[in-house]
Point group: C2
Chain length 427, copies 2
């Protein structure tokens, strides 16, 4: 089957650039439902596969400011569901701070509400500050991934516990269920005991789509077993190609083929008709960064106080730090390869928290995305607009039509469900 | 201040009558969002104060069938929020199977999404079958209420942790927050440790409205401390008056007055222009009850197998059973007072799970509700339609106008938030 390019919209805070909310006319709140509905409608007009809502489980006003006051993703996307009809709705939820029954139920509910458009971005919650909101000690990386594997298995069993056709609802006989098609799961593992079944019938997609973003060895293993979509952090095409090939090569061991997993690197596009205009936009964005906010965010990313280092010195030795996630590793790799100063690193973090910043003319951006797609560095992209709306409409109005003209991107939704639009097998 | 009558719509399954889904043209699914949106719009047209969604945390296809496949309340009501603009949105959520941070966050999110219309029906989850979905042992009644008191306190602290005005969002200076107005709660109790704050700012109502339904001594104590609305189970006006007076008398000890707590008995109205028509509707409903389903539901209510008793014999001695809740006690009291057989009891349960069934002409129903309101047996009613839509529109089209003509019920919403429409003090 021909590969098709897929596009996700990453929705977090007021956009992915730390200071995007200061741009003229920008959306300045991640609690503003009407603004969020406008963004979702624009993404659907542009035929994006899905919206993908990031999350955290703690408030740290010292870090990226607009990330600390936000709507909860499942309630947000249930509201978005009624204002849209075709775009996928991906919510982040943690396997460390939550339970399989509640989570499986909520995503099945979103899948029913949206007519088969729900996706779960399964995360293990890297930030240790979350633990204190749940009276827990933050499990280490290895343990979080062990928990996560078992958690996802239990969720998948719960989604499958109602067979198709379990609901009869025959008014004449009074039979509501076929009880033989509803079974407990009796899951008993190292971390979770879940009897099941859910109190909601099999959802339109059978199983909501599973998204995953961990780039570590354990994260890739989990993705190969369970993920339908992987959101990656990368700064470099060759690195991305190697990651893509490596991840797809893990699939056959789990009875899966390359078409069963869609790899979407994150990219922050800063785009305009000409390169000069695009550079000016990026300069305007960077001009709004203040040192305290950027250092706060850098400290959050590296889980230590970064203000004690010389901003114009080399990248300090940060020791081995368990809380690092793939973001931090990717950034450090790039920074060391390119002999950056700490200030360069902080500019990188401020721009897109370590994601790939792609700045240039519409033709250049379309060329680059096409090249990554054709080179098998990506099956598409998770687009991270620096701010809304202009930072997003620049992409939908300038880049999407170019991708369509080249025959890379759809001109109409192929299916009704997210699974269909992603070209995935029915679950 | 003059007392005003308030109306809630209790939404559970396909309606409160166990066999309502078999009525001609009835809604036959509690997973059908378009049907739920129609119901919500009808309730808003009729100026109801709120919709109140019941819940459970297990599936028991042997019990009330349409209760076992349902949307999750918070996601459902987030979708309803975008299709309505004034009606309150109350979701049931448990203090036994959940955590304060997640719950406080989700309700604050619904409050933002709905512009100040969120309410939390705080329950302790009576059904012991829920425990197995969470790998837990079901705590006994006393312990559940101790947990619940602490849980609600932690939630209220979390809702208050962001002071008004904490969000600044000054694009010129780059100040997003006033950090001095955001504080951890550092809750350390017998059951929960929650650092806080939430990652969502103070919601439009300040505190979402708290609903409560426990009729036990511990439940009434909790209600007197925390509830804004109490949903009661009653079969008898004198019993209701005594309960009402007793509950209001508990308020001053907590610095609260009688206007701070709205008491809404549940009532299943079966109403038509004439009494004969109404009786025919009830007979049609009862004619759809089958024995296995009704016995299953009775067994669920009393937490024991009721099929071993003679249906036409007297009510058996059921022993003291911890799992009884106020519903079961109210039903047993009525059944024993009226020398019912087990079959009479099961008909009572089948009709409205033990709630008050009020069957008659529109004038009779309006007279009775007025009498209860004026006698201080109620501040209004939680209306439990036996089925949808006709079982509900009979009430909105025949009874609501009569209550309005008598000056008892609003002709337009008084406020923007649920708290305002309920006549409660700002939080």
């Amino acid at each position: 089957m021909e590969r098709r390019l897929h596009l996700g919209l990453f929705l977090i805070g007021t956009g992915s650039h730390i200071s995007g909310w200061r741009m003229p006319g920008a959306v300045d709140s991640f609690e503003d439902l009407p603004a969020i509905l406008d963004i979702a409608r624009e993404a659907e007009r542009a035929l994006f596969d899905l919206i993908f809502v990031g999350d955290n489980l703690n408030a740290d006003p010292g870090a990226h400011p607009s990330y600390c006051s936000r709507l909860e993703p499942l309630t947000m996307l249930s509201a978005v569901a009624t204002a849209t009809s075709r775009i996928g709705l991906g919510a982040t939820a943690s396997t460390t701070y939550g339970d399989p029954w509640t989570l499986a139920r909520a995503f099945a509910s979103l899948d029913h509400i949206s007519g088969g458009r729900a996706a779960w971005n399964s995360v293990t919650t890297a930030n240790p500050q979350a633990a204190a909101n749940f009276g827990m000690v933050h499990p280490d990386h290895a343990r979080r991934y062990e928990m996560s594997g078992e958690f996802i298995e239990a969720v998948r069993k719960l989604w499958d516990a109602w067979a198709p056709g379990a609901l009869i609802r025959d008014t004449a006989s009074g039979r509501y269920f076929d009880a033989a098609k509803i079974a407990p799961i009796d899951h008993e593992g190292a971390f979770f005991r879940v009897k099941g079944p859910l109190n909601i019938s099999r959802s339109p997609q059978g199983r909501p789509v599973i998204l995953q973003a961990g780039g570590s060895e354990a994260g890739q293993d989990l993705a190969a077993r369970h993920a339908d979509v992987v959101f990656t952090v990368t700064q470099d095409k060759d690195e991305a190609r190697a990651f893509y090939a490596g991840l797809k090569a893990r699939l056959p061991a789990h009875g899966r083929g390359p078409g069963d997993l869609v790899v979407l690197p994150g990219v922050m596009p800063v785009v305009a008709e000409t390169e000069r205009q695009a550079r000016n936009k990026l300069a305007a964005l960077q001009g709004f960064v203040d040192e305290a906010t950027a250092l706060g965010m850098l400290s959050e990313r590296f889980n230590q106080d970064m203000s004690r280092f010389d901003l114009d010195g080399p990248i300090p030795d940060l020791g081995r730090n368990e809380a690092y996630h793939a973001f931090a590793s990717a950034m450090l790799g790039k920074a060391r390869r390119e002999n950056m100063t700490l200030r360069d690193l902080y500019n990188l973090v401020a721009a897109a928290r370590g994601h790939w910043v792609l700045c240039g003319s519409a033709d250049f951006v379309a060329d680059t995305l096409e090249d990554w797609f054709r080179s098998k560095a990506a099956d598409g992209f998770n687009v991270m607009p620096p701010w809304f709306m202009e930072g997003f409409t620049d992409f939908t109005r300038l880049v999407v039509p170019r991708l369509q003209e080249r025959g890379l991107f759809r001109k109409a939704y192929e299916g009704r469900t997210l699974r269909e639009n992603l070209g995935l097998r029915p679950a």
